[in-house]
């Protein structure tokens, strides 16, 4: 049916010169749908523009009634949905204000989190220990498989990359040093933190965001229970304790990855590899990775919870919060790692 109706341009032409009245002959029409209605609405618009009379008596009854409904309320023109292009200064200004507010929010959050920690160490924080253990399980034991997989592969890759270069000097045994040092100093901590950021940071943001949308956080507040203590504190505590443990695990698995490559493809024996590794890794190197991991734990938990608490009140906002938690988290982890690299360099670890 629709292809037989004239299109908009043709309609405009036909109704152009000399026509003063539009009427319809729909005697042959047996059934119709919204296709007819859009056509009619176009007729009405053109007729109104050219001030033509419209005679709707020829239309099927339902269609005429629907047209009356559709034209009963005139089109609202000033809904203001078409964004005006603002001047450069306006946009610069509003971005600066938004940035300042964002920074303020972050500092407020960090301040409140610090107070919550202080209250915890003073033994006055209100939260349920059971919640803490649940988060510990989620961020600890349940993360082991993915951390193991990633770490093993990173160890493996490091060994291959190192082997190609070291073979040129006939020094393949140093693959053990390379893998061991890289894992404990950098890769173990940073890969685990990034995995946890994608896994747990996003989950925190989504959990808290959903609680915000369903007014669960409001319900805590009106009962006088601080959401910072009740929801954020257990998450931060759990992650600060679990991330270093996961990093230890990751270091170990990564070195095993290197060991597998060395023993199977590089003619290094198991004993040689283990001996070199033990000789290469000293305590300062080992601890530099662990110290970082505590801070990474704080970063992952804080960004996840921050974005969750900032969440707007729609389901789309929860998605935005989760995405933003991961992006902020990973960025902060890399920046923190760079800062640590500089500091460790200065104090000579």
């Amino acid at each position: 049916m629709q292809e037989k109706l004239p299109d908009s341009d043709r309609l405009q032409q036909e109704l152009g010169g000399g026509v003063s009245r539009v009427s319809f002959d729909a005697a042959g029409v047996t059934s119709w749908d919204s296709g007819l209605m859009t056509f009619l609405l176009r007729c009405w618009d053109i007729a109104a523009e050219k001030q033509l009379d419209v005679d709707e008596s020829g239309l099927p009854k339902g269609a005429g009634d629907l047209m009356k409904l559709a034209t009963a309320v005139p089109e609202k023109k000033d809904t203001g949905r078409t964004e005006r292009t603002r001047s450069l200064f306006y946009r610069l200004g509003s971005h600066s204000i938004a940035l300042a507010e964002e920074t303020w929010d972050i500092f407020t959050f960090l301040g409140e989190a610090t107070i919550a920690f202080l209250r915890f160490f003073g033994g006055r924080a209100r939260f349920r220990w059971r919640d803490l253990w649940v988060v510990v399980q989620q961020t600890g034991a349940e993360a082991l498989p993915i951390v193991a997989l990633i770490s093993f592969l990173v160890g493996l890759i490091l060994a291959y990359v190192g082997a190609v270069q070291l073979q040129k000097f006939g020094a393949t045994i140093y693959v053990a040093d390379l893998v061991g040092l890289a894992m404990v100093r950098e890769m173990g901590a940073i890969m685990t933190a990034i995995v946890m950021c994608g896994r747990t940071g996003a989950a925190f943001a989504a959990q808290l965001g959903t609680m915000k949308v369903s007014e669960e956080i409001d319900a805590l507040q009106t009962l006088g229970i601080s959401p910072m203590e009740f929801l954020v504190l257990p998450r931060m505590l759990a992650l600060c304790c679990m991330l270093p443990l996961l990093v230890l695990f990751s270091d170990f698995i990564g070195i095993i990855g290197g060991l597998v490559v060395s023993v199977t493809t590089l003619d290094i024996t198991f004993q040689q590899f283990v001996g070199r590794t033990i000789a290469a890794i000293d305590l300062p190197n080992f601890f530099s990775g662990l110290i970082k991991s505590v801070f990474f734990g704080v970063i992952v938990a804080a960004t996840g919870c921050l974005r969750g608490m900032q969440c707007g009140d729609s389901s789309a906002a929860v998605g935005v919060a989760a995405t933003s938690a991961v992006v902020t988290g990973i960025t902060c982890i890399i920046v923190a790692d760079a800062i640590f690299a500089v500091i460790f360099n200065i104090i000579g670890i």
Partner: protein, 257 residues
């Protein structure tokens, strides 16, 4: 009794989101034991007013008093004490989804009283039985229907035997019978607990059934339209917005009301 200050007093309250003013200069008093209804069209700021009363939002201007004490300017410790005298039923119930119904009701008890686990459990069972949910103690909020969640939310709001109960759109999403039952429950609770009740709603049937006093928020003028008994407002007020609202847009009083 006349010397007692009103339970809740709002003075020159202006509510705003940033620079956007929602309502200007609200003034009203709620007496002890009253059922007070905040009514108005959709999006006029009813829920925002509720958020101001329960301290989730700070007023742009003006003050809220409870028992003659300034709520907004109270120190944290005082505010905490005042908050414990409130019970709030949120629109969707807002039960904590990681806890069972009994844990939901029991959490405020565990936080603010020195009762033992067993006593808390008994009280939770009792509060749940008041709203007809006995036997559902160990269900999670996701396992029960919307109406049940709302009733469980009410049980939680009553956990600390509050002086003031706030309801945000209690009948939203309920069928007429359940909504009627909830209205009856509100009145019974008021009578038996002696609580003051503040209800946000735009359900006319509910307004006429429960309200002792009602305030109309007028979205057009951005301030309060009129205050009074809903029936008197409907029959006598000069304010056209209030009149049309209470008569469902008709000039004659609709028969169903």
């Amino acid at each position: 009794m006349s010397t007692e200050p009103p339970k809740i007093k709002v003075e020159h309250l202006t509510m705003a989101y940033g620079s956007f003013v929602v309502m200007n200069d609200l003034n009203f008093e709620i007496n002890k034991g009253e059922v007070f209804v905040i009514m108005g069209g959709s999006g006029c700021g009813k829920s925002t007013l509720l958020k101001h009363l329960i301290g989730l939002k700070d007023p742009a201007k003006g003050d809220v008093y409870f028992d003659g004490q300034n709520f907004n300017r109270a120190e944290d410790e005082e505010k905490l004490l005042m908050l414990q005298k409130f019970g709030v039923l949120y629109q969707g119930g807002a039960l904590w989804s990681s806890m069972t119904l009994a844990e939901n009701v029991g959490l405020p008890l565990g936080e603010f009283t020195s009762l033992s686990q067993k006593e808390i459990r008994d009280i939770a069972t009792f509060k749940l039985s008041l709203v007809g949910l006995r036997g559902f103690e160990d269900f999670y909020p996701s396992e029960i229907s919307g109406g049940m969640r709302k009733r469980a939310g009410l049980a939680r709001a009553m956990a600390l035997d509050p002086d003031v109960l706030f309801f945000d759109e209690p009948s939203a999403g309920l069928d007429p019978i359940s909504s009627r039952r909830l209205d009856d429950l509100i009145l019974e609770l008021r009578d038996s607990l002696g609580a003051t009740v503040v209800v946000v709603t735009h359900e006319l049937a509910s307004i006429f059934a429960i309200a002792d006093k009602a305030i109309f928020l007028d979205a057009a003028t951005r301030t309060q339209g009129a205050i009074g008994k809903p029936r008197e407002l409907r029959d006598q007020t000069e304010n056209m917005a209030v009149r049309t609202f209470l008569r469902r847009g008709e000039e004659e009083i609709p028969e169903v009301l």
